[in-house]
């Protein structure tokens, strides 16, 4: 719940409570007045008392008022009701001594009836005989009956100037009530009104307090990042359980339809229910983007019970996009009052964010998984001592990573220009026959003169088809430097989705491995190593942004140089939602994962994914780091940790709010040359369970700059093992800080290169420079 919403609720609560206090004061005052009256009206001594001491339950209170009124007049026809907006709700209805089911009426301006007239005029009304007086009455009774009452006493229930409701007592005999009766009933009504108001306020305050508690509980519980199906079912179950609603369902909007994704309704569990946008209650909420309330169950439910229930459909929207609809069915039409509706609306806003976060998380996880899978293949290829081992490892990894059962790798033999099966997975006994009979590339559908970029779907040759136990296969031709080297064949599978990208990547790497094998035969082993390392770097580089933000009046640039091993540095630019004034906002990340090699790279992929999906819905860097820290700890299977500097930058205003989780302090150099460090505001991520982060803010003036870097820069050593050091970095930056970001960066890069000389870098060097030019 946003803090401002909490404040609004608190204010409403305080106003309601002070209103109740005022009424209590009034009640006390009118009780004194009553005491004075009781001297002369001793027969009512107890009536007001009993009403005022009645329990704070509206219906019980109405019952008590009925009993007390019965001591004054004949109450065989008795009604007491309260106004609620433009509706009039009965709390008690007695007809000829029998209780009748409670009803409510709407008060339309054209047919207000006597009750409506009383609300406007705030006056009581004595009717001695309807038959005689009907034309002289200030308003007409609304009912038409064969046996209408003849006389009546109508008394408004008033607190201050407001008419809360009406007490109506009627009789089938004329002249059943006197002016004196009316006066006595008015006394009772006066106290009844005060007591009713108290009960109503208390009821509302309690209801509101409970709702607020529930809202906060539900919001907290849905806030944990989880898969969408789990989130949906948690949403419906929590609402049903916590708000005691009859049934709760969630529809997700997909392909312009509403799909039932989760429900607490036993008859609907596991069923496919698809509605069009605009169809039924939920569909109308989706088309209008507004809450829809209907005094019956939706059309697709059992018509026998429909009429006795009510339904509210709440669209779950973010930025005017409807993500889904929560449909709540209630067996009590009155439970959807204004307050409840407001609570549901704010709940829907929470849910929207949770859904969006989960969606981001899911898609980014998928992306990270593909990258990680490819990285694994690349490492396997790089680590293999020979092409033979590489290919065998890759064919096995392919089945594991992609989830196919059968893989065949063919290599082209220069002697006969045919494809020979050299490596395979899952082919069983058929292999030896296949190995004995090479195929021509065209038999696999491969065009020998054209480089094909993507997979071909092809009919397999008979031998292969029987080994694969299917006729159709997917074939990637493997090319390097314009030369056809072989083919990768995988059984045809539907719905591989993004895993196809992994296969594309694997094919690419197989080509490289084969190409490397050729190179190795031709040139020195050293070159092959370089090439393999390049593959690793390429994949690592794919985690990094393609470009720096281009923003008028600013220059931003980045530098990234990898060491021999795959490392764990990364930086990121995340475009965030604009602020309230529509100003563009960016998240800027620089981070360093402890350690090197594949584990570090995988952990880096995880950290980057988490940061992105968490940052995108948050404006506070401290919150973001706190949450990412929790996720990393939840997810951590290793003892790796990551230092992160994260800032939310608003270029137009120059605001730069940051949190520093144990990362090397970025260097701030002001236009006039003063320098300072953006030091730690919390610990490195992935170490402490309850890590807290502080937030700092700087404002860029024209000519100010910030240099973000990793320890690879300051720790770069020369032949004498001397660090480059922060002092050198600061000195150089201070010397050139009036130039553009790119020049500042080049100056530092040149200086570190001069320092290091021929010494091989043992750590990645990463830098981001942000400068306000105008």
């Amino acid at each position: 719940m946003t803090p401002s919403l909490v404040w609004i609720y608190l204010i409403i609560l305080v106003v309601a409570l002070s209103g109740a206090g005022f009424i209590l004061y009034r009640r006390w005052g009118s009780r004194r007045a009553l005491v004075a009256r009781l001297d002369e009206l001793s027969k009512f001594a107890d009536a007001g008392q009993r009403i005022l001491n009645a329990p704070f339950d509206l219906h019980q209170l109405a019952q008590r008022i009925y009993i007390e009124a019965g001591k004054i007049v004949d109450v065989s026809i008795f009604q007491l009701g309260l106004f609620d907006g433009d509706r009039y709700r009965l709390l008690i209805w007695i007809m000829d001594g029998e209780a009748r089911p409670l009803r409510e009426f709407s008060l339309t301006p054209n047919s207000l009836g006597i009750v409506g007239w009383m609300r406007e005029s705030r006056r009581s009304l004595l009717v001695r005989d309807f038959e005689k007086e009907i034309d002289a009455l200030p308003a007409k009774p609304r009912y038409i009956s064969d046996d209408p009452p003849r006389s009546a006493a109508f008394v408004p229930l008033m607190v201050g100037d407001a008419v809360l409701g009406v007490m109506a007592i009627q009789n089938r005999q004329p002249d059943a009530f006197s002016e004196e009766d009316l006066r006595l009933l008015s006394i009772i009504a006066n106290h009844a009104a005060a007591a009713l108001q108290n009960a109503r306020l208390l009821d509302q305050a309690q209801r509101r307090a409970t709702q607020l508690e529930l809202l906060s509980e539900v919001a907290q519980r849905i806030n944990a990042l989880q898969s969408l199906p789990a989130l949906y079912s948690q949403i419906v179950n929590l609402i049903a359980e916590k708000f005691s609603e009859y049934h709760v369902s969630f529809f997700e909007i997909e392909n312009e339809h509403l799909n039932l994704r989760a429900t607490t309704h036993p008859d609907r569990l596991g069923k496919t229910i698809i509605l069009n946008i605009g169809e039924d209650v939920a569909g109308k909420a989706a088309s209008s983007g507004k809450l829809v309330l209907k005094q019956e169950l939706p059309e697709y439910m059992n018509p026998d019970v429909r009429q006795t229930h009510s339904t509210v459909a709440i669209p779950v929207t973010i930025d005017e996009r409807v993500l889904g609809v929560i449909e709540i069915n209630s067996d009590d039409g009155s439970s959807f009052d204004e307050n409840t509706v407001a609570v549901y609306n704010s709940l829907a806003a929470q849910i929207a964010i949770a859904i969006l976060e989960s969606q981001n998380y899911a898609s980014q996880q998928e992306e990270a998984w593909i990258n990680a899978a490819l990285l694994q293949v690349a490492e396997a290829v790089a680590a293999s001592p020979s092409l033979d081992v590489s290919l065998q490892t890759v064919s096995r990894l392919t089945t594991l990573l992609v989830g196919v059962d059968r893989v065949a790798i063919y290599q082209r033999n220069d002697a006969d220009s045919k494809f020979h099966l050299t490596h395979h997975e899952g082919l069983g006994d058929a292999v030896s026959a296949l190995q004995r009979s090479p195929v021509s590339p065209s038999e696999l559908g491969v065009n020998e003169t054209h480089v094909a970029a993507a997979a071909l779907h092809t009919t397999l040759p008979p031998d292969l088809a029987s080994a694969f136990e299917c006729d159709q296969g997917m074939v990637w031709s493997l090319w390097a430097r314009g030369e056809l080297l072989g083919a990768l064949v995988v059984e045809q599978r539907d719905a591989l989705g993004k895993r196809l990208q992994i296969l594309d990547g694997i094919a690419h790497q197989l080509s490289m491995a084969m190409e490397n094998a050729r190179l190795a035969r031709e040139v020195a082993v050293q070159q092959r190593m370089e090439r393999e390392m390049e593959v690793g770097r390429d994949i690592q580089a794919s985690f990094l942004p393609d470009a720096c933000p281009l923003i008028e009046g600013w220059s931003v640039c980045s530098y990234w140089q990898v060491a021999r091993q795959v490392g764990g540095d990364f930086y990121d630019f995340i475009q965030l939602r604009p602020d309230e004034d529509g100003n563009e906002r960016w998240g800027i990340v620089i981070a360093d994962v402890a350690d090197k090699g594949v584990p570090a790279a995988l952990f880096m992929a995880l950290s980057r994914t988490l940061l992105r999906s968490v940052a995108i819905n948050r404006v506070s860097p401290a919150d973001t780091l706190e949450r990412v820290n929790q996720f990393i700890l939840n997810d951590a299977r290793s003892n790796l940790f990551v230092t992160v500097f994260y800032a939310v930058w608003t270029p137009r205003t120059g605001h730069f709010v940051y949190a520093n989780g144990g990362h090397n302090p970025p260097l701030l150099i002001r236009a006039h040359g003063d320098s300072s460090s953006l030091t730690r505001t919390g610990a490195a991520l992935g170490v402490f369970e309850e890590a807290q982060y502080q937030e700092q803010e700087i404002v860029f003036a024209k000519g100010d700059m910030v240099l973000l870097y990793t320890d690879g820069l300051t720790d770069a050593i020369n032949a004498q093992s001397e660090d480059f050091g922060l002092q050198r970095v600061t000195n150089i930056a201070a010397k050139v800080h009036t130039q553009s970001a790119a020049n500042i960066q080049s100056a530092i890069v040149a200086a570190v290169a001069a320092h290091v000389g021929g010494t091989e870098a043992f750590d990645d060097i990463t830098m981001v420079v942000v400068k306000r030019d105008a």
Partner: protein
């Protein structure tokens, strides 16, 4: 990087000198793991001669601490070099370890 060990009654003092970086970290980790495998639960790392501690080295300190805490023991740091202190301070990891100015004090506390 060089590692030497002195065993006391209740604690082993592991003295590490030189650079702990990504190339030497695996040896460092192996040495500490040997101690843990041999049933030592209280270790003191004497680090006045540690010129350099990379994040890979810090990772090993953290994982060793986690493992030992799980066994009711701990790893303490003694006589850390300014460099070691700076690295831990920078990452906010100081609170994870007891740090002693003198090895004798660390041994006495264990």
């Amino acid at each position: 990087m060089e590692i030497t060990t002195r065993d006391y009654k209740r604690v082993s003092v592991v003295r590490v000198t030189g650079r702990i970086d990504s190339s030497t970290a695996p040896q460092f980790e192996e040495k500490l793991n040997d101690h843990i495998k041999n049933g030592h639960t209280h270790l003191v790392l004497e680090m006045d001669g540690a010129d350099y501690l990379s994040s890979a080295g810090v990772r090993i300190l953290i994982s060793t601490q986690k493992t030992l805490k799980g066994k009711g023991g701990e790893v303490a740091l003694a006589q850390p070099s300014p460099r070691v202190k700076e690295v831990l301070e920078l990452a906010g990891l100081g609170p994870l370890f007891h740090i002693y100015d003198k090895t004798e004090a660390a041994v006495g506390e264990a």
